[in-house]
């Protein structure tokens, strides 16, 4: 099939960006979306132009690297699917496709379709963990976890940290990502001692990173390749509300050192 692509090209964080139009022939319906871009890039290289830069690694929907907004939808039209697992059979001959990077204040553009998502890492560094020293863990079966609790925690833990939720949110909010991690750990018995410290530290870290707030649009859930439910956002709100009545000492660091954004 033949496609018309409008791709966001931007040399660097400070440069202005713009859409560039490319006509692409010989697109096979069995190709993945990224393979379609590979084909385009091979053509660009042959023509002596610079290929389109985009993040990707595992190409099987689990690493969370791939990240592009396809015709206004983060990760494209197929629900619960990362860009790398989206296949061209969901498009048809003659389609016009706009491809853009994640857009959010907290995710500055690095180049073309690549953004800097290190804000997520800093949020995790602020409290997305259970503080257990290597070697100090008790025997695993001494902490029984009810099956339904373990399953629900796993539902939240499936988050791949791709940032589609932020990209899809009209407010550029990171609530789904943060709520998924808070819920995963706060649901489990192992996570109880740090439950309120964690939620407070992570919400405050999210604030520092200049993410927006939650208007409950539910665009995040619709874009999330892992189908993480907004009910986890409610759960986080609840824990944050409860934290008001608890004494919580902040121990997590701010992790300002980590950034790949050196614009």
């Amino acid at each position: 099939m033949k496609l018309t692509l409008h791709i966001w090209r931007q040399k660097g964080p400070q440069e202005p960006g713009r859409f560039v139009k490319y006509e692409l022939d010989k697109v096979n319906e069995h190709m993945s979306f990224l393979e379609m871009l590979d084909v385009l890039n091979q053509e660009l290289i042959a023509r002596g132009e610079e290929p389109v830069a985009f993040d990707h690694d595992c190409r099987e929907g689990i690493c969370g690297a791939c990240s592009m907004v396809i015709n206004g939808i983060a990760h494209g039209p197929q629900r619960a699917t990362t860009t790398c697992q989206l296949h061209m059979r969901h498009f048809k001959d003659g389609d016009v496709i706009y491809i853009e990077p994640w857009r959010a204040k907290a995710f500055p553009i690095v180049k073309d379709l690549i953004v800097d998502r290190s804000a997520f890492d800093r949020i995790i560094a602020a409290g997305g963990f259970i503080s257990v020293r290597t070697g100090s863990a008790p025997e695993a079966n001494s902490i029984p976890v009810p099956k339904d609790v373990a399953e629900l925690a796993m539902d939240a833990a499936e988050c791949i940290g791709c940032g589609a939720c932020v990209a899809a949110c009209p407010n550029g909010a990171a609530m789904l990502f943060v709520a998924a991690k808070v819920s995963h750990l706060n649901l489990l018995p192992q996570g109880q001692p740090e439950r309120f410290i964690r939620v407070k530290a992570m919400v405050e870290a999210m604030e520092r990173e200049q993410f927006g707030s939650c208007s409950n649009h539910r665009e995040c859930e619709a874009a999330c390749p892992k189908g993480i439910s907004v009910s986890f956002i409610a759960r986080m709100n609840r824990d944050y509300r409860k934290a008001l009545w608890k004494t919580v000492e902040h121990q997590g660091g701010k992790a300002e050192g980590i950034s790949q954004f050196r614009g």
Partner: protein
């Protein structure tokens, strides 16, 4: 101090909005129920209006709570909305919302119109300064005479439609914000908010319509 640090995050601000929004929504429902007594004639309505004024301390407590709620709700709404705009400075070339509806996307605009309306509404029917033939104490007359001006009725109707839209999203949304979510009740939340919004809209709008139609004179 703690409350301030709590309020410093958007999650905290939204909690404040949900609680104040809820207070306002309950008031709006009660207010509407009272207003519907217009259909029972002038005595009933005027008597009800008098009843509200029996206890001044109570009246003022309610007024202060409402005023504080409105203020907090608006301040937080403006802060949160501005931050949201900053957090997402650029739009996509193709706009393709999957779940967000007009209600959720127009909260600030609907809210601001409602705020403007509330001010006008107070001047019109409470203080009477914006009323052509205001008679202190005769609520029935004030309402009927007021709504006989088509433009006034129109503003009232538009504001209530926007309020209904605001509530259509808001009365669903506050459950999330306050952390009440359970797979068993999540569908019921949607129904609840829809019914709430429709009841308020139909109830309130019926009054100017009835006046204009001449059913209530």
């Amino acid at each position: 101090m703690k409350v301030l640090s709590f309020y410093s995050t958007t999650v905290g601000k939204k909690l404040v909005m949900a609680i104040t929004g809820l207070i306002l929504a309950v008031f709006v429902l009660g207010h509407m129920a009272g207003n519907l007594q217009i259909y029972q004639g002038p005595e009933k309505l005027n008597h009800y209006a008098e009843l509200l004024r029996v206890s001044m301390p109570l009246l003022w407590t309610v007024r202060i709570v409402l005023l504080l709620s409105v203020l907090l709700h608006i301040v937080a709404a403006v802060q949160v909305t501005l931050q949201n705009w900053r957090s997402r400075p650029k739009k996509y070339a193709v706009s393709a919302y999957q779940e967000a509806d007009i209600a959720s996307r127009t909260m600030i605009w609907g809210g601001l119109v409602v705020a403007a309306f509330v001010v006008y509404h107070l001047l019109h029917l409470t203080l009477g300064t914006a009323h052509g033939s205001f008679k202190p104490g005769d609520v029935y007359h004030n309402v009927v005479a007021g709504f006989q001006v088509p433009l006034v009725s129109l503003f009232y109707i538009v504001a209530n439609v926007l309020l209904a839209l605001h509530l259509y999203h808001g009365m669903w949304s506050w459950f999330q914000t306050l952390g009440f979510s359970h797979p068993k009740y999540n569908r019921a939340r949607r129904v609840f908010a829809t019914v709430y919004a429709v009841v308020i809209a139909v109830g309130n709008i019926s009054i100017p319509v009835s006046v204009l139609a001449g059913w209530v004179k």
